[in-house]
Amino acid sequence: MSWVSACQLDDIEQEGAIRFDHGGRTYAIYRGPDDRVYCTAGLCTHEAIHLADGLVMDFEVECPKHSGAFDYRTGEAIRLPACENLKTYPAEVVDGEVRVALN
């Protein structure tokens, strides 16, 4: 597993998300209420809307257009119209730096 440096933990507000682009793909990185970080594919499985613009509440991210929702820890689709799960990637914080493993 190769880890990629994505951002600083302080770049993401608690219960928030940012967009991260790498290798021609786009991802969303979340900082949970537990202050841990999580990474998923960036685009909603329903209509390719970027989830980093969506509302993060607890461990749920909601699509900013259609209100489909996912548990960003597992990628599980938990509210329609999203029905296909999101891909997730390992993420960690090392000395204040957020790293993600994308393959």
Binding site: E47, I49, D53, L55, M57, K65, H66
Partner: protein, 401 residues
Amino acid sequence: MDAIVIVGAGESGTRAAFALREAGYAGTVTLVGVEPHLPYERPPLSKPENGAVTLKAVCSGEALLGAGIIYLQGVGASSLDAARRSLTLSDGRVLTYDKLLLATGARPRKLMCQGAERALDFRTYDDAKVVLASVDASRSVAIIGGGLIGMELAAVLGGKGLAVSVIEAAPKPLGRAVPSHFAARLHSRHIEEGVHFHLGQGVCEIRQNTVLLTDGTSVPADVVVAAIGVQPEIALAETAGLATGNGILTDAFLRTSDPDIFAAGDCAAVEQYGGGHVRFESWRNARAQAETAARNMAGAVEPFAAIPWFWSDQYDLGLQVAGQPQQDHQCVMRALPTGELAFYLDDGRLVAAAGLGLGNSLAKDIRLSEMLIAASVRPDPAVLADPSVNLKALLKNAKAA
């Protein structure tokens, strides 16, 4: 055997079919749709990616099969007999039902001028394909109607290098659904992008390659699109003698004047708490009403109480509106790096919010505003105006209070 029939396979009817199964309904569910396609989403039609119209299905054929939904595709409904609980289809078939949902939607309002038949409609996937194919071989397009559909189309077609004119009878575009501050912002952006506006003008005649306005102006138009709004599809309801007005009238539970017939989506005019009936034309409303109607048809007794919400994409700007902003509300603006939010207070209570900004950048603030509206908060206007105050923190405080 229990049977529910749904007339109309748009966003609302299709959502209702699945929501019946989610509510545990085990009887027969038949979905009748007049268009020759799988049920599809209409919002993407006026926001085509890379200039091409794509059919974005609401669900797959397998999903319909998997949920045991009988989908009658390309079949209309010609008459409804409420006393016999029977529906006659355009191919002569007769379906009987225990409960019926009318999700018949709306159809484009027709122009009444000379040459009106030259104007293209913009409602269905087939309409969108015709419009996009027509403009590809043209140099100019006139869009009659400066509402949301007209303005979204102007943004898309302007991007294809055509001369775009918008003709609107009112003195300003977007006057009906969009708060005036944001309507003015969008109007300016369209002017910057080169869209020509003819405001306060009626159409006298549509000729080949020209639209003649009431003040005598000739607007060049190889293609003319009519986007002057829709009217609810109530003809079937009328054959059954149901109460209608600006839509099929329902009570707060989405029941029509016949207790076994419900209505949802663009066609439904729903009784309001303060009196009167209101009809909404939005994607979210179509789905939310479908879900309430489905649960009520399956035995629940639940009033429809969702806060109205819609979005519009024009150029790189995203507009979202939650609630119904009115002229007499106190309006509080909040400036943000990517756009502006407006909050609307009625006697101190937050009742609506709107935002216009880059892409979906303000979506989460509007979503939080919607939750604040639902929580009936009475926020300090100075706090709402302050961009350093996180709306999520306001919501958590409201919930803790």
